[in-house]
């Protein structure tokens, strides 16, 4: 293993490197907290619909693709592991290993999106998309629409975050493949890792809230 120097290039408006590092993490946490509130609103909607229309929600939830959701959760947990691996190797200056872990993370994120796309296709084939013109399989119970709509909004919003995450990760991987990256910008890997783990965290809540608890 060839260990490279690891560090952070001090930007003028910070007094010390540790202050710069903490400011970057604090800034990202501020944003993640607003994201948490955004998703929490949707979780709350799902909960209220469940309280008001329990039978309709159970009926709609049984039509969701439980096993694809479970597989996707496993995929994201594995991606969280590879991201943690990339962060751990960045801290010891093992650039080649870090890059492989980052590419594996992007690959697992793409696999998640592929499975999600297949799930949406299955929903479409089974007429489980109430907002499209055409038949809706649970049309006899209009309350199911509320839950299915929240399901699509939540998973699509999460998907947008994942597409953004994979795109940024690929750019970051390209940047990190250049010489002296770890010596100047190691904290970018750590800060980005927070975002990726957050995407994982949200899905870990989405899966039980939509797929498991309502069965």
């Amino acid at each position: 293993m060839i260990a490279e120097p690891v560090g952070i290039e001090l930007v003028g408006h910070f007094a010390t490197v540790s202050q710069q590092r903490e400011a970057a993490k604090l800034g990202l946490w501020a944003w993640l907290v607003t994201e948490l509130l955004l998703f929490a609103g949707l979780f709350l909607c799902a909960l209220i619909i469940r309280i008001q229309h329990p039978a309709a929600v159970t009926l709609a939830a049984t039509h969701l693709k439980f096993w694809i959701g479970a597989a996707n959760t496993a995929v994201l947990i594995c991606s969280s592991f590879t991201m943690s691996g990339a962060i751990a190797l960045s801290r010891i200056g093992w650039r080649a290993g870090m890059l492989r872990f980052m590419l594996a993370t992007a690959g697992l994120g793409t696999l998640f999106l592929g499975l999600k796309g297949f799930e949406y296709y299955q929903d479409y084939v089974e007429h489980m998309v109430p907002f499209l013109a055409g038949p809706y399989v649970l049309a006899r119970d209009q309350a199911t629409r509320l839950f299915v709509d929240v399901y699509f909004i939540t998973t699509a919003l999460h998907g947008v975050h994942l597409i953004t995450g994979v795109s940024i990760l690929l750019v970051l991987t390209w940047q990190a493949s250049r010489p002296h990256f770890l010596a100047r910008h190691q904290n970018r890997i750590e800060v980005y890792g927070l975002y990726w783990h957050f995407i994982d965290l949200i899905w870990i809540i989405v899966f039980p809230v939509l797929y498991v608890l309502n069965r």
Binding site: W29, V33, I51, A70, L89, G97, R215
Partner: protein
């Protein structure tokens, strides 16, 4: 890779590996419960398992255990807001 490299790799990946195993095990419990529905009100256990998974990601994967008090406070405030939001709204819906 030399033996020293492998030893270092094992050392730095120990915590991520343990986290992976713990999260997969908890997911397996929730999937098994969701697929079989073995008893009434199983959702309470499922919600508890999901809460454990969230705590592991926050504290270990997102490094909150090792962060500075300011960052820990900041992240806690986010969840405190959620507590207020869920508490106030559910107080209405659950007691109508």
């Amino acid at each position: 890779m030399t033996r020293t490299d492998w030893a270092m790799l094992r050392r730095v990946l120990r915590v991520p590996c343990i986290t992976l195993v713990a999260l997969v095990a908890l997911l397996a419990i929730n999937v098994a419960l969701g697929a079989t529905l073995p008893f009434r009100n199983v959702w309470i256990v499922e919600a508890g398992v999901a809460a454990c998974m969230v705590a592991i990601v926050l504290l270990v994967s997102m490094d909150l255990l090792d962060e500075t008090p300011l960052i820990r406070l900041f992240s806690s405030i986010g969840f405190f807001w959620l507590l207020i939001m869920f508490g106030m709204i559910l107080t209405d819906y659950l007691y109508r």
